[in-house]
Symmetry: D2
Subunit: 241 residues, 4 copies
C-alpha cells in the first residue's frame, strides 16, 4: 500500500503545507495545477522536490476556483470538465517532462473529486478526458464498497484505477467517509494507526457501526498540513514497512 | 513567406476575432494559452479549427494579466518567466497532442514580446525556457535590422528562429515598428499591399525616412479582428501566391 | 413599467453589449461589478454613460466566476454570499458616488439570481446582506405567481422589492420562465411586443398552456447584445409610452 | 507616533500574518482589498477585528496581481490607476460602513507604493483618485528627506498626508530605504529599537553613512508576519508609550 499526499498547494506569496518535510515519506505526490492552488513556479519547485526524493507524480486538477480552493461544487458541463482537465494535466505533464519526470496518474481535487464519486456524468467526463489524453495516465479515486462499478467503467475506457483510502477518516457501512460534521468522523492518531494496520494486514476497515468492511486499496491518502500531520505520516510509514 | 495570426483570443462568454473566417487563409496560428486570453474550451476549439484547415500551431504565452490582455509590461524575474512559459506552452502542447496535432513554435504575446525584443534578460529567459522544454520548438520574433544578434544567441541555445514582419505597420530605419502614436505608423490597405509585395519580391521595406531596408522574413503577421482585416488577409494571400 | 438592462459586461480588451445604443432607451442599468464581468474602468465608463442619460443605476453582483460569466451555480455558504455581495455592491456604490450618482438597487446576476429564486437560504443571505448594508437599496427579483412570499420576507427585513418580467421569454403556469431548451421558450419579436402590451395594459401574461396569469411587474428586462435587440428595445419603449 | 501594519493579507484557504496577535498593539490597520490579497470574507473579518480593538482602518489597494502579491511593477495608465483605486477603496469603505466603521486613509501597496514614490505620474494619478473620491481620505506615504514636495502637491489637491517610517529598515542619505539586497538594509532588533527611540525622541534617523537625517514621521510601519515580529511590535509599543 502506497502513501499519497496533496502537495504543491502554495500560491504566489502564500505557503501551504510542509512539502519539504512530507516528500521524503511518501510514494505519490498529487500536485496542484493552478486552478485551486499552485502557480507555475510552485509547480516547478514541487516537481523538483518530487524528483529529488524519487516520488511518483500525479496531476491534481480542480474546478477553476482559486478563492474557494476548489472546494465548492460548480455546475460545469462535461465539455468544460474535459477541457479543464486536459489543460491542467497537460501543463503539469509538460513541466514534469522538462525535468525528466513522467506523470503517472490524475487525482481530481476537492469538489471535483466528490462530484466524480457522486455524479456519473462527472465521472464519465473525467474518463473521457483521460482516454483522449495522448499519454496513458491512471485515475486515482476513492476505495468504496462499490468500487467495482467504477473499475468496470474505467476498464471500458481502457483506463487503470488507483484506489485510495483515507488514513484518518471514519467510514460508514457503504464505505463512504463520514461527513466531517458528524461526531467520530476524524480519527485520533491511535485510531488512525489502528485503521492503517487493519487495512494493510486484513484489507478491511471497521465502520462507524462496527461492521467490518472489505476495501481494496492501492494507496493511502495522508495530510502534511502541520507538524503533527508530518509526524503521523512518518509513523504510518514505519508501520507499513 | 508564410502568414501568421493571433487566434483563440476569446475568453469565456467574450468573443474576439473572426477565427472561423481567418483560419482558412493563414499558415500559422498563434494560440493564446489562458494568461491573457483563451480558456481551456476556447483553446480546444481553436486547435480543432487549426486541424480542420491544416494550419501549423504555435503557443502564444503571455504575462499573467487577463484584464490588461497581456499588454502591460510586468517586472517578472527570469525564474518566473521560465515557469510561466513552460506552464502555458505545455498546456497547449498537451491539448494539441490530444487532437493529434504537433505544436511547432512559440511566439510570446504583447508586452512579453516587446520586452523580449528590448530586454536581453527577458530574451535569455525565453531561450532558456525553450531549451529546457522537452520538445524542440522554434521561437518566433520580430524581423529587425539587427536580427542577426538574436539568431546568433538562439543558435547558442540550439534553437530555431522564425522571423516575422508586420504587413500593415511602417518601419523606422532600425527596422523597428513606428509607435502607433506617430503619424504614418499604420499603413492603409494600398500601402500595406505594396509593402507586402516589396517584402516578398525584394526582401526589403521602405522605412518612414524613405530608406530601403533589407529584412529577412519567414512569416508575415496579419490581423483578423474585423471584416476589413479578413478581407485584407485574403488579398495578401492572393498577392503572395 | 420601467425598462432595465444588464450593462457594463465588457472586460479588459473584450467588448460585450451595445451599451452606447441601449442606454438612451432604458430606465435602469444593472451594472456588472467585476466578478463575472466589468473591470474598474468599464464600471467607471458605464456609470458615466448612465449619468449622461439619467438612467438609474443598480449593482449586478455575481458568484466569483469570470470564465463562466457567473452562469454556473457555485456552492457558496451564506457567509460567503453576504461578503461577496457587500464587496461588489460597495465597489460600485463608491464609484457611483464619485460621479455624483446614487446607487438605487441590487439585482443578482446569472446563477446567483436563479439560486436566489430557488433556494430560500440564498434568498435569505441576500436579504441579510442588503439589510446590513449601510445604505437602503432595493432588491430586484423575478415577478412570479408566488412573488408575495418573496415580498413578505423582504418586508420583514425592511427591504423594498422591484419585480421584473422578461419581455421575450414565455412563461409557464407557475409564472416561471420556460427553460431555453424547451420549444417556444423564446418569443419572436411580434409575440414579444404582444406580451409587453398585455403586461402593460392588463398586468397579465398568457402562459405556454394558454392560461392568463396575473403578474405584478415594476420593470421589464430587455437585452441589448446586438442590433436586433436594440431595435426591439426602442419598439418596446415606443409601445409603453 | 502611531503604529501601522499591513493586515488582512490572507486569501481563501491561505493564511498570512498573525492578525489576531498584531491588532491589539497597533493604531492603524492597512487592509488588503482583493487585488493582491484579501477576499471579501477576509476583509470582513479583518474589519471586525479592527473594530474590536478600536484600530483605525485604511485601504491598502494594489495593482491587479494576485500571484505576484502586488510586488511587480505594472505599466498601468493613469486612468487605470484611478479606476482600480476607486474600486478597491470603495469596496473596503462600504464594507467598513456596514460594520459601523469609517475608513480613514489609503496606503498603496507594494509596487504601487514604490511607483508612487518614484514616478510623479503615478503619484498624481493617486492624488486625482482620492480627490474625486466622495469622502475625504488621507494618503499614507513614505517619510523621506524630500517629503515636502509630496506634501505641497497633496495640498494643491486638498489632501492630507500621513508620513510613515520603517522601524526595521536602514536609511540612505536621501531618506530612502536601503535596498534589501544591500548589506545592513534590515536592522536587527536592538538596532531597530534604537532607531525607533531616536525617531520618537529626536525626529531623526542615522543613515547608513552615519549622517543624522531629520524625518517628519506620523506613523511607524511594523510587520506581524511571525512570532518574532509580533514580539518586536509589543516592544516598540512599550518603548513609545
Amino acid at each position: 500500500m502506497k502513501l499519497n499526499c496533496d502537495l504543491g498547494e502554495s500560491f504566489g506569496a502564500w505557503t501551504m503545507g510542509l512539502d519539504n518535510e512530507v516528500m521524503p515519506h511518501i510514494d505519490q505526490a498529487n500536485i496542484a495545477c493552478g486552478f485551486h492552488a499552485g502557480d507555475p513556479l510552485v509547480m516547478q519547485n514541487t516537481l523538483a522536490l518530487a524528483k529529488k526524493f524519487q516520488v511518483s507524480v500525479g496531476a491534481h486538477p480542480s474546478y477553476p476556483d482559486l478563492v474557494g480552493f476548489g472546494r465548492r461544487s460548480m455546475a460545469c458541463s462535461s465539455e468544460e470538465i474535459i477541457a479543464l482537465i486536459h489543460y491542467q494535466v497537460a501543463a503539469l505533464d509538460g513541466m514534469a517532462s522538462a525535468q525528466g519526470l513522467s506523470l503517472d496518474y490524475v487525482k481530481p481535487h476537492g469538489a471535483l473529486y466528490n462530484d466524480m464519486m457522486k455524479e456519473p456524468k462527472v465521472f464519465e467526463a473525467i474518463l473521457t478526458a483521460l482516454t483522449q489524453y495522448p499519454r496513458k495516465l491512471a485515475l486515482m479515486l476513492q476505495a468504496t464498497a462499490d468500487i467495482g462499478k467504477y473499475k468496470d467503467q474505467a476498464n471500458k475506457f481502457g483506463l487503470v484505477i488507483y484506489s485510495e483510502a483515507f488514513a484518518d477518516r471514519c467510514y460508514d457501512d457503504e464505505g463512504r467517509l463520514l461527513a466531517r460534521s458528524q461526531s467520530g468522523a476524524v480519527l485520533n492518531k491511535e485510531a488512525m494507526l489502528a485503521q492503517v494496520k487493519q487495512l494493510s494486514e486484513q484489507g478491511t476497515v471497521t465502520t462507524i457501526s462496527g461492521k467490518v468492511l472489505k476495501l481494496s486499496v492501492d494507496s493511502l491518502c495522508v495530510h502534511g498540513d502541520n507538524i503533527a500531520g508530518v509526524q503521523a505520516i512518518s509513523e504510518i510509514k514505519a508501520l507499513l514497512s
